[in-house]
Each structure stands twice: as C-alpha cells, then as structure tokens.
Symmetry: C2
Subunit: 86 residues, 2 copies
C-alpha cells in the first residue's frame, strides 16, 4: 500500500497510443507526451528517411542531452548558492 | 562558415548504429548514447512485450520528464539566488 496515487493516462505520440502510469498528474503526462510528439515531428521532417524506431531513439538522445545540460546548470547554480551563503 | 566545430560520432544504441552530428565532443555524445541505451534496456526488461519503436518512444517520454524536473529545479534555484542577492 502506498499513499502515492498512481495516474493512468492514454496519450497519442506520433500516431500511436501509449498508456502511461505514473505519480504525475494526467495533465503533466499529456504535456510530456506532446513535447515528445513535437520533437519527433521536428526530427522527422529534418530526416524524412528515418523509420519511427530510429526517429524515437534520436528523440530520446536529444532529450537526454537537454537533461544533461539542465543537470549541469543545476550544479553550477547550487555552487553559486553555496558561495552566496558562505 | 562557422567557428563551431561539428563532430560526427557513430554510436550503438540498442543494437542499432546511429551517426550523430553535433557541436558536443565525441565523448559527450558517447555518454548520452550509453545513457539512452541503458534506459532502453531498463524499460525493455520491465516491459518485454514492447517493440523497439514503442520502447524508444517511452524512453524519450522518460527523458523529457527528467528534463522537465531539472528545468523546474533550475527555476527554483534561480529564484533562490535572486532572493539571496536582494
């Protein structure tokens, strides 16, 4: 038993339906799905010869790259806060 | 003409080869690719019935979700820095 409520959302990404279960709200899950859909369409129109699977992998590569950049930014902001507090 | 050097790296993700072109170093691109590969294997072993394409889409959903969390954290750290400086 858990206090954390799980939400089940069905979303459409690049013409396929996915059921996503998570603690995030349905509106948050829909936002994420629409960001993935947008990114797949963007990469797909720049590379029309890619099949869906490769397109999705490159979308994941893109998203992980963006994540790493944000993570580096978090580390530098945390260091700045430490300096300001010292 | 641009001063920014583009690197071309060939990486292996989930048994497929991808050529990725970007301003990031080859070692950075390899790191990102291995993170995507790990995440696909993790989601794949939890959901063995998924095909590669759906697996890659769900990996992208995961990565975008992680990105959004980090982005929210950046915004809250920036607000804290602003408070500390005022």
């Amino acid at each position: 038993m858990s206090d954390t409520k799980k939400n089940k959302s069905t979303v459409d990404i690049y013409g396929q339906q996915y059921t996503i279960v998570g603690t995030e709200s349905t509106s948050h899950i829909r936002l994420i799905a629409s960001m993935v859909d947008d990114k797949m369409r963007e990469i797909g129109s720049a590379n029309p010869s890619l099949d869906t699977s490769k397109l999705a992998v490159l979308t994941a590569v893109n998203a992980v790259n963006d994540y790493i950049k944000m993570k580096d930014r978090v580390e530098s902001l945390e260091a700045e806060i430490k300096r300001l507090k010292d």
